[in-house]
Every structure is written in C-alpha cells, then in structure tokens.
C-alpha cells in the first residue's frame, strides 16, 4: 500500500456522487439559473454569408436604439483575436475585414429583454462584397479559393517507421485499400452555451459560465480586453455537458458578454438558443481517410500507408491538435514493420470544427478497423483471431516507436468480449417484432486511445492542484479541472480522502474559479482523473505528512487528521499544499520527427455489436452491444461505467443516426427535431465490462477513460452491417438511405 493510504480507502467504491442530490432535486444552479440583478440580454449579429469582405455595419435609423447597447470590433480595447493556437480568428469581424463563414460574429447587442435584443439584431444590417467560397476537403485541396497560406493546409504531419512503405506494400501477398469518410457530429450537450459577465468595483472583468476550461477563457479575455491576470476572473458554473464543445468556444461567448458589459456598464448574459448553438459552435471534424493495408496470406499485417485529411473549417482553432491525435492513432493498436501516415487539416468556409470526445481518433479508428475487417475476410480469419494475431502487447512498439512498458490490456479486452459471447451466435435472418423481414449481423472493433496530452504536452502544461485545510477541520481540493458531468469532483474527493485517510464527507471541492484555483490544465484529453487526479493525490499526501508532523510536535499524536487540521487551522491559519504534475520517467517525444512516446499510456477496448436491419425500411436496430475497456483502475466503477456507456451511445449515434447537413457552408438542420441524437427508445441495453491493467503513474493505477468509448463502436456497427447485408459500408453515418443505395448496388458508400 503506497504511503498516505489507509484501509478506509474509498477509492474503488461507488460512493454517492457529491453533486447527486443537487442534480436530482433541481437545486443545482446552471448559468441561466443565476439571479443577476439588472442583467441585460446579449445577442450576436452574424455574417450570414460564407465568404466576403465586410464593407459596413449599418444600424436601422427607424429602430429605437435608446435601451440597446451595440458593440462592434471598434469597441475592442485589446487585440482582436481569440487566443488559442494561431491568432487567426477575430472575436468580431472588423469593417474592412474578412468574413469566412456564415455564422461569424460581426456585432453584438444587449437589451433589457430578450425580445428587445432579438428585435435589435434584426435591425443591424451588413454591407458585404461576397467572395467565392469552398465547402469541402476536395475544394480546399484543389485550392479553388485560398483561405490559408498558399495551399489551404493549416497543418500537416508525417509519421514514418521501418523502410520504404511503397516497396513493402508491393511485396505483400494482399493489399487492402479503401477510402473512409465521416461527417461532422454535433456535441448536443443538453444545456446550450451560456455565460454572464460583469465588471466589478475594482475594474476586474468577471465571467461565470458553462465551460470546460476556465483558464482558456482567462487567456483569451486578457488578450481581447487588454487585462492582466488579476483583473480577469473566470468561474465555471454547473455545466450541462461539454464533450469538447465547451473546450474553446466559451472563450468567444465570454469575450462577447464582457465587451457588452463593459460598454453597457451592466451585467450581460448570453445564452445561445438551440438553433444558434448547433449552427455556430464547433463540431467533430469531417474526415476523409485513405488507407492501404498490406499483409501476408497467413493474416500477418506488414505495412500500412494512411492519408488523413480533416476539414478544419474557417479558422485554425484546435485542428492541428485534433489532426495530431488522428495520425497518432491511424495505424491502430497493431504491429507493423513499415508505416507511413500523412495528415493534413484544411481550411474551408464552414464554421470551425473542433473538439469532440475522441478528438480525431474516432475518424482514424473507423478507417483502420474497416481495413482490418476487410483483411480478415480476405484471408478467411475469424475477426477475433485476426486481432490476436496482430495486436500490440506489452513490450511491442507502436507506429511512433514507443515501446509499451506497462498497462496493456489488449488481450484482456478481446478475451472479455469473447467470453461474454460464449457460443452465442445471432439468428441471421428472421422477423422483427413488428413482423417485417430482417437480416442480422455481428461486428467487432478493437482499438486503443492515448490518454492525456500528446507527447511533451503534459510537461509543457505543468498542471497544478492544491489541497488545503478548512476552518472546520475539513479539506478543500482546488483545481481548474471542471466537473462537466463526468464525475471528477466525486473522484477527486475519493482520491483526496483516501490519501488523507479520512472520510469523504470531510472533503469539499472549491468552485472552479481562476480567483482561487491554480491552472490544472484544460478539462480535455481524458487527462483529468489520470493526470490531475494524480496531482490531487500527491498534494493530499503531502498535506497529510505535514499535519502528522505537526501533530507529533504538538503531542496530538492520537487525534484523527481532521482534529489535527482543525487545531492547526486555529493556531496557524490555512495549510495548503500545491503540487505540479511531474511527467513519469521515460516519456521521450520528438516533435520534429513525430517519434517516441506519443502518450504516457493507452486505454484498450473491444466492442461487439449485433444489428438487425429491417428490409422494408432499412432501419437498423442495435440488438446487443458488449464493450470491454481497460481503464487501469476504476476509481468509482459506477461513474466509469457511466462514462463508457455515454460514449458508446454517442458513437452508435454517430454511426447510425446523427447527421449534420450543410448547404453552402450553413447547417440546414439546426434544431433538435432535425439534427437527431439517440433517445431512450433507440438505445440498446449496454453491456459494459471493466478491465483493470494498472497504469503505474496514475492515481491507484487509473488511466484515461472519457474518450475511448467513442472511438470504436462506429466501426463495429459498419462491420455488423456488412456481415448482415454482404456489402461494405465505408462512410458514417449509415442512414437508411445509405443502406438502401448500397443494397441496390448504387455505391452508397
């Protein structure tokens, strides 16, 4: 048992979530629930054309502007860009500037009522000179119009391993080749984006909002509003889901609300309505992956050559990072002698695509798992045997040359799914409950997901967290990692309580406000529990050691730690220990050559799906879904299973139902009625199996789990449909129309 732990451990137990009661009673206050006296309602005037030069912004002289505040780029006191990676995206398009997508913010209004604000928006007119626009990967690569640099490529990567991949493929017995396309996917958190901002008495700008990363907002606002650290105070409200959609976009809303509040000298709230949220905010990158896979007749994989292209949309935002993850996952969890992976993220005149659970890996996974499945058919191998013959195991090297030193549950996840099935095979054809004729099929997918930031990312981030004593003999965890529903506040409480050797109800979580909490790094990349949880564990252990020493000095040796903390607080005030993340040894990464340890460790997963296809309507029912995931250690099994189940259904939705439709760069189905997500009725019972191959540098062995369930079920669905119908499906989503075309031989995929 590591130092700082006792047998009263709450880690591994599914304790009640710390925010459970507030959420089931409706008492939890989300941003739109906060009572802010004198608040004005802010709205955004958007570009409405996909590519143009903005000539003028005109306010209708017939409209009564007396109670309306209007903000344009001229009102920005700092620099007009949203700080993230490349400073290319303005907070508001200036007159004379370039409009690059249809929902680009151009002006802002605030008024005492929503109705007045809506009316004001309709009376702001834009004069534009329209320019030719490009909307697809192909149009971007053909350089029909130049939006970025001299080739429309925001970022490119290349990974090389072994020798000449062309020669290697030429020498293979079999080469499987395919192109795989996936569409945009909307995060569809049920709480739309929203923030409220005001300026306090000492001139500090305050923002409270629905967000994943308070310090991203902090960084962006300092630039736009020309503020220093101290005068920029960002606080996360209870957040109604994020999934990546609230990673960087809240910086834009926050800047807008702060600019309006500054000019109106009153608090301003901006809550997007659903249509606006779907149309304007980021989505999963549409992708085109071309994949060549070479193998020997016995099923041994030898070489792969992959070309990944992501549609980044109008601005760079996070595309380079998403692309990085896509290329780093593109060879899959398999051994190869020769690998070439090339990736490009391109610019188009659509609203920027961004973070969504999986972050490039799902797009890569659908391609390599379709390829491996086709290869298995080509050599006549059972899908399980095909994976077992080629999978990465402990001691093997990945495409970037990373030798896997620990926590590799590849065999275990596959075995767990196989064991669950036993001899069960689905009835191939038959009748649906409704009486129609159905065909059934089964599909398997096997995959991995790098946990935490890529390469040297964590070393640069230096994530911090603090554990401190409180007046009443309790302990407070301070971290900017936000609980967005994934249960991090509960897991941090468990981790801290266990390290302190105290009861969990003595631990509280500080509000995630930049005024109080240190920068733990963003709440992304499946890093919160694994990386920040580890920091919390170390801070708690350090604080415990300090208090135990104090107890010894004061003759309080028999008291429990809470009593010691109380007397220490009374005598000396707060005791706090802040710890900075120290990456584990042996993480060597070369950003130039893209070789080395791409991630500190990987999660491993296998997913099996049984589908039934109605031959009259081509509707697909998922009749069974078994998902085994190696999570290192489940700090809270109910929360961990909940993460996996939620990710699984988002993946099934991406595969079968979810379809964001664009016309000329505009989302044309921007409503929940038309842009559907799975309901209770669509979802199958989800059979989730936890595998625990501990990661030595995670808290109690835990590693990232948030994203991996999103990566693979789509490939399992495609394989199951191919099994049922005998035709391949190489694009997601696989809608009834897609199946109809495919079975009629019209090349639907």
């Amino acid at each position: 048992m590591p130092a700082g732990e006792t047998s009263s451990s709450t880690v591994g137990a599914s304790v009640p979530k710390v925010d459970g009661a507030a959420k089931v009673t409706g008492a939890a206050r989300y941003v739109d629930d906060l009572e802010v006296p004198g608040v004005l309602f802010g709205r955004t005037v958007r570009s409405a054309v996909p590519h143009a030069t903005l000539k003028a912004i005109r306010l209708d002289p017939e409209f009564d502007w007396s109670d309306v505040t209007v903000v344009t780029a001229d009102d920005i006191p700092g620099d007009n860009y949203v700080a993230l990676n490349i400073p290319d995206q303005p907070a508001l398009v200036p007159v004379g500037g370039s409009i690059r997508h249809v929902d680009e913010p151009v002006a802002l209004v605030a008024a005492p009522t929503r109705e007045r604000a809506d009316a004001a928006v309709a009376h702001v007119h834009l004069d534009v000179d329209e320019l030719p626009a490009i909307f697809t990967i192909e149009e971007a690569l053909a350089k029909q119009t130049l939006l970025h640099g001299d080739d429309n490529v925001f970022k490119r990567f290349e990974i090389l391993r072994g020798g000449d991949v062309e020669q290697a493929l030429a020498e293979c017995d079999i080469v499987v080749e395919g192109t795989y396309r996936t569409g945009a996917q909307e995060q569809m958190y049920i709480e739309p984006q929203g923030v409220v901002s005001w300026w306090d008495d000492r001139g500090a700008c305050r923002v409270v909002g629905s967000m994943q990363c308070p310090y991203y907002v902090h960084k962006a606002l300092k630039v736009i509003l020309a503020l220093d650290d101290e005068h920029t105070i960002i606080t996360q409200a209870v957040t109604g889901g994020g999934f990546g959609g609230k990673e960087d976009y809240p910086s834009i809303l926050s800047a807008h609300a702060a600019l309006l509040a500054r000019k109106a000298k009153a608090p301003v709230k901006i809550i997007y309505n659903r249509a606006e949220d779907i149309a304007a905010t980021t989505k999963r990158h549409p992708a085109r992956v071309h994949h060549r896979l070479g193998l020997r007749r016995d099923g041994t994989l030898v070489a792969c050559d992959v070309d990944v292209v992501l549609d980044g949309g109008a601005y760079a935002t996070l595309s380079a990072v998403v692309l990085s993850r896509a290329v780093l996952h593109a060879a899959g969890p398999y051994k190869f002698e020769h690998v070439r992976i090339r990736g490009r993220a391109v610019a188009t005149n659509t609203p920027p695509h961004g973070a969504f659970r999986g972050f490039g890996a799902p797009q890569a996974t659908i391609a390599y798992e379709r390829q491996v499945q086709k290869a298995a058919r080509a050599v006549g191998l059972d899908p399980f045997e095909m994976r077992r013959r080629n999978m990465l195991r402990l001691g093997d090297a990945t495409a970037t040359g990373q030798v896997l030193a620990s926590s590799v549950g590849s065999d275990q996840v596959l075995d767990a799914v196989a064991t669950r099935l036993g001899d069960d095979v689905p009835e191939r054809a038959g009748l649906a409950t409704a009486g129609g004729e159905v065909k059934r099929g089964r599909g398997l997918a096997f995959y991995f997901h790098g946990a935490g930031f890529t390469g040297s990312g964590e070393a640069h981030l230096k994530g911090k967290a603090t554990v401190a004593t409180t007046r009443g003999g309790g302990f407070e965890v301070r971290s900017s990692s936000t609980d967005i529903g994934q249960g991090s506040n509960t897991m941090f409480s468990q981790i801290a309580a266990t390290a302190l050797g105290i009861d969990i109800d003595r631990v509280s979580l500080s509000e995630a406000t930049t005024e109080v909490v240190p920068n733990s790094g963003p709440t992304v990349a499946s890093r919160t529990c694994m990386v920040v949880g580890r920091v919390v564990q170390e801070a708690a252990a350090k604080l415990r050691a300090r208090l135990e020493k104090y107890a010894e000095q004061q003759g309080l040796g028999d008291c429990d730690l809470c009593d010691v903390a109380r007397s220490h607080y009374a005598a000396e005030g707060e005791a706090a220990e802040m710890v900075t993340y120290d990456p584990p040894p042996g993480i060597e990464w070369d950003d130039e050559t893209y070789t080395g340890s791409a991630y500190p460790c990987y999660g491993w997963a296998a997913c099996l799906v049984d589908v039934a296809v109605d031959l009259d309507t081509y509707e697909v029912t998922v009749e069974r879904c078994v998902h085994a995931v190696d999570v290192g250690k489940a700090i809270h099994p109910v929360i961990v299973k909940g993460q996996i189940e939620g990710g699984t259904l988002q993946a099934l939705g991406w595969a079968l139902w979810e379809n964001v439709v664009y016309r000329d760069g505009r989302v044309v189905n921007a409503s929940m009625t038309d842009c559907i997500i799975p309901t209770f009725w669509d979802a199958p019972d989800l059979d989730t199996i936890l595998i625990e191959e501990p990661y030595p540098y995670g808290p109690h062995g835990a590693k990232g789990v948030g994203e991996i369930p999103m990566d693979g079920p789509g490939a399992a669905v495609a394989a199951a449909l191919e099994d049922a119908l005998g035709v391949p499906f190489d694009e997601l989503p696989i809608l009834p129309e897609t199946i109809h075309r495919a079975v009629r031989g019209e090349g639907g995929s």
Partner: protein
C-alpha cells in the same frame, strides 16, 4: 391576463401575458429554476412538468392553458422535509445523473410513469421516457434507476 392555477400545491395568482411560455413564467416569475430549457421546441424534455399529473414540455405551453390546473415541478418532487423520492434516490445510487441538466425533467417524467404504470417492463419504461433526451449516460443507468425505484415501490 389575470390567471389562477396551483403550483406545487399552493394557489398562485398572476397577471401575465397569456402567450408567455409556461417555462418562462416558472423560471422568471416564480423563480422555479429546476425546470430547464434545452431546446425550446419540445424535443429534449428538460422542461418537463406535470399538469394535472400529465408530463408536458413547459416550453410548448402558453401559460393561459394552465388556468385552473395543478402544475407540479421538480421542486415539488422531493417531499416537504427534503427527503428524496425512490426515483431520486435510485438516480443517485445508479449514477443516472451526470451533467444533470436533463435530470429534473427525467425525474418528473419517471415519477409520473411509475405512478401510472407501476409494472411497466424495461422496454415500456424506455418508451415512457423517450420524450426526454440525455446526452451523457447512454440511458442505461437511468433505466436501471427507474426500474429499481419501481421495484422498491412494489416491495412496500
């Protein structure tokens, strides 16, 4: 328009525009913010309330329609002493609430469902709850929770 109805067991008299959404009246006039807005078009169910015991989307109801009815919101679901109902308890135990924004609507809908159909099968529960969207859970733990609450209720 002057309007009388019952809200969470108490009489309520208001002077409001008849076409205002019940959702806005609840949240803004009565400060009952447990009822959430997710879409404003009757798809997500986050604004589910009970009108005379029937679950409805408060975003689609002009307030004039509730004159003379009894409206119940999530704030009235736990009993007066703040003791959680079986559904709420089970939602916590099973991890049925993640981000929680859909949870009040689901608890309200589930309360009505097990009242009206105490013996509903798992499949039937999915149908009864299908008007409420959740993006976090994959629904598994919510179905488990409601089924469990049903069993507790039957055992009494």
């Amino acid at each position: 328009m002057k309007l009388s109805f019952e809200i969470n067991g108490r009489a309520c008299d208001l002077d409001v525009a008849p076409m205002r959404r019940l959702l806005d009246v609840l949240r803004e006039e009565l400060r009952l913010t447990g009822t959430k807005e997710g879409c404003g078009e009757g798809e997500c169910g986050a604004c589910t309330v009970l009108i005379d015991g029937v679950p409805v989307n408060a975003c689609l109801v002009p307030v004039a329609q509730v004159a003379g009815t009894a409206v119940r919101t999530i704030e009235d679901i736990a009993d007066d002493n703040g003791v959680l109902t079986d559904v709420q308890r089970a939602m916590i135990d099973h991890g049925g609430a993640q981000c929680g924004i859909c949870t009040p609507g689901i608890v309200v809908c589930a309360a009505a469902a097990i009242e009206r159909e105490p013996d509903a099968s798992r499949e039937r529960l999915r149908e009864l709850l299908a008007g409420n969207l959740c993006r976090c859970t994959g629904y598994q733990r919510i179905v488990d929770a409601v089924a469990d609450a049903q069993a507790v209720r039957r055992g009494r």
